[in-house]
């Protein structure tokens, strides 16, 4: 009995330390290069799909829907089963799913940075570094962002509901941050917008949560067409 209590206490202590790591994983100052990407927003502006705060809101809602249907299954699976084997398998599948080159490269560059940062920061989870080391030379892993994020979340003890919600949160945060730099909204307007969209983001997280990767699909196919145009832009601020 007492043994059990000691054990629970230890886990709790471990949990509270892990919480600091979990928060750091979601912190926008974690240097993963998210600031270099606009999730197709810059191309959408130049295609006059987005021209002001009103259709910016719609753009973000549609982007979140597409993120939920396409990427949450990968976050879910790797969070609940954060093993080298499962992660590598899902990385290969996602590489075949992201057929839009701009989006695929953005996913790879953000995922690789996140894995590199995590391996050197979260030293309490040594398997992160070892998984990265084995994969880096193998050539079979592309380091796509969603499975890397799920893997780290899982290893940091985050539950899968939180990690999927967090993935939607980060997507929203990063696209809104891109919108401020593209001069579509000011910093205060951006904060108000983020708060307004939160209930919609929650509804979409719930809708697409806990699905198998076989269900991954695009629900806003227009975005792939538009984001694919990013390389054709004569002048641009962002990588994607």
């Amino acid at each position: 009995m007492e043994q059990d209590l000691v054990q629970t206490d230890k886990i709790r202590k471990g949990d509270s330390i892990l919480q600091w790591s979990q928060w750091q994983l979601l912190d926008s100052i974690l240097p993963t290069g998210g600031f270099a990407h606009s999730f197709g927003l810059e191309a959408a502006i130049q295609a006059r799909i987005v021209s002001g705060p009103d259709n910016l809101k719609n753009f973000i809602i549609h982007l979140l829907e597409n993120t939920g249907s396409l990427l949450l299954p990968f976050v879910y699976s790797t969070t609940t089963n954060p093993t080298l084997e499962n992660w590598q398998k899902l990385d290969t599948i996602l590489d075949a799913i992201l057929t839009n080159e701009v989006g695929r490269k953005a996913s790879v560059s953000q995922g690789s940075s996140l894995m590199r940062v995590a391996a050197s920061v979260f030293t309490e989870v040594p398997s992160l570094k070892s998984m990265r080391d084995v994969s880096i030379g193998s050539g079979v892993v592309s380091f796509h962002h969603a499975p890397v994020f799920g893997l780290i979340s899982g290893l940091l003890g985050m539950d899968s509901g939180t990690s999927q919600r967090a993935y939607m949160f980060m997507t929203m945060r990063d696209v809104i941050s891109a919108a401020t730099r593209l001069n579509l909204v000011g910093p205060l307007g951006a904060a108000v917008l983020q708060h307004q969209i939160a209930p919609v983001a929650e509804a979409m997280s719930k809708k697409w949560m806990d699905r198998p990767v076989e269900d991954a699909c695009q629900t806003v196919p227009l975005f792939d067409t538009i984001q694919g145009c990013h390389g054709y832009l004569f002048s641009r601020l962002f990588c994607s």
């Binding site: 191309a43 502006i45 130049q46 295609a47 006059r48 799909i49 987005v50 021209s51 002001g52 009103d54 259709n55 719609n58 809602i61 549609h62 829907e65 249907s69 290969t92 599948i93 075949a96 799913i97 057929t99 839009n100 080159e101 701009v102 695929r104 593209l182 001069n183 579509l184 919609v200 509804a203 979409m204 809708k207 991954a216 699909c217 695009q218 629900t219 806003v220 196919p221 227009l222 792939d224 067409t225 538009i226 984001q227 694919g228 145009c229 390389g231 054709y232 832009l233 004569f234 002048s235």
Partner: protein, 312 residues
């Protein structure tokens, strides 16, 4: 008893739905691509004209059609294609595939599974799918290739009978295109799902575009076509995309003004697969005709392979 939109076919109920299997095998017979087996089950029918192009090109053309001119609620059509080593086959239609109104929550489905042999070319170049209001339709195409197979897939869907005001009014459209290389290695996995139940309606997500299309061009026989399409699309789009003078200032004009200047046709190309062996073009357009014109121009380079230029 319930009768469907076409008035001819009896509605199939619940579990009684059976897979209507079709099968086509193309093999070399006296060094010419030849249909050696062709079998289809109602409501599907294949028409294989003896002569589709000049006799010196080695290609068979297969027309797929459905009785009643479309797909009825609850129809479940499944076809298997085998394109033997070195053969060329074209699968096409004579008009758009109409998916009629759904009865209840029933979904119609079409499944195509194809094996494409070494040095073979399979071109799936149909007219678009048009889903009527309330229709529910799901389509799945799986292509199994070896390292030197070639493949062209055009997969497209319109907003419905948009001339009569039906714009993205169907209930559900799902289209899956998967390509696997040897050892079941996934090369291209794509599923588009348009469902009315999301927070935003399908029409909102489409921003006034009435057609979405995807063109997959894969394999060694199509290198020239790939290069041309990439170059053409890049040139076309570079002219269309620019920083709008209104968006970067704080004096944005009304959104209706910006709608007018939005490109009526958007396309982008991406390379995929090992060593960039595939190219996928994604298109959004306000008219079906402009997509036909685009396909005509961009796939014209296939004429020497198919005998006739696609979509002419």
């Amino acid at each position: 008893m319930l009768f469907t939109g076409s008035g001819k076919r009896k509605e199939r109920v619940g579990r009684e739905i059976e897979m209507e299997k079709g099968k086509v095998v193309v093999e070399k017979v006296r060094r010419k691509s030849t249909v050696t087996r062709s079998f289809s089950k109602y409501p599907l029918k294949f028409i294989i004209p003896r002569k589709a192009g000049p006799s010196k090109t080695d290609a068979v053309w297969i027309y797929s059609l459905t009785y009643g001119g479309g797909i009825v609620s609850g129809d479940s059509i499944s076809v298997e294609f085998t394109i033997g080593d070195g053969c060329t086959a074209v699968l096409t239609t004579q008009a758009s595939t109409k998916v009629y109104k759904s009865l209840g929550s029933k979904c119609s489905e079409q499944v195509l599974e194809a094996r494409i042999g070494s040095g073979a070319l399979f071109a799936v170049i149909p007219d678009p799918v048009t889903c009527f209001a309330t229709a529910r339709y799901s389509q799945k195409q799986v292509f199994r290739l070896v390292s030197d197979s070639s493949l062209v897939v055009v997969d497209w869907c319109t907003s419905g009978r948009h001339e009569s005001g039906e714009k993205w009014d169907f209930e559900l459209y799902r289209s899956t295109n998967n390509i696997f290389a040897e050892d079941n290695q996934p090369v291209f996995l794509d599923t588009v799902l348009l469902e009315q139940s999301s927070p935003a309606s399908i029409a909102e997500r489409m921003h006034d575009y009435q057609v979405i299309a995807m063109v997959i061009i894969y394999g060694p026989k199509l290198k020239i076509v790939q290069d041309q399409v990439q170059e053409n699309v890049k040139r076309m789009m570079s002219q269309q995309l620019h920083i709008p003078s209104t968006s970067l200032g704080h004096h944005a004009k009304t959104s209706s003004h910006n709608c007018l200047t939005r490109p009526a046709f958007i396309a982008s190309c991406s390379v995929f697969g090992p060593k960039g062996i595939g190219v996928v073009v994604r298109i959004a357009s306000t008219t079906t005709e402009s997509v036909y014109r685009f396909l005509q121009h961009q796939l014209a380079g296939m004429e020497p392979l198919l005998g006739v230029s696609p979509y002419c």
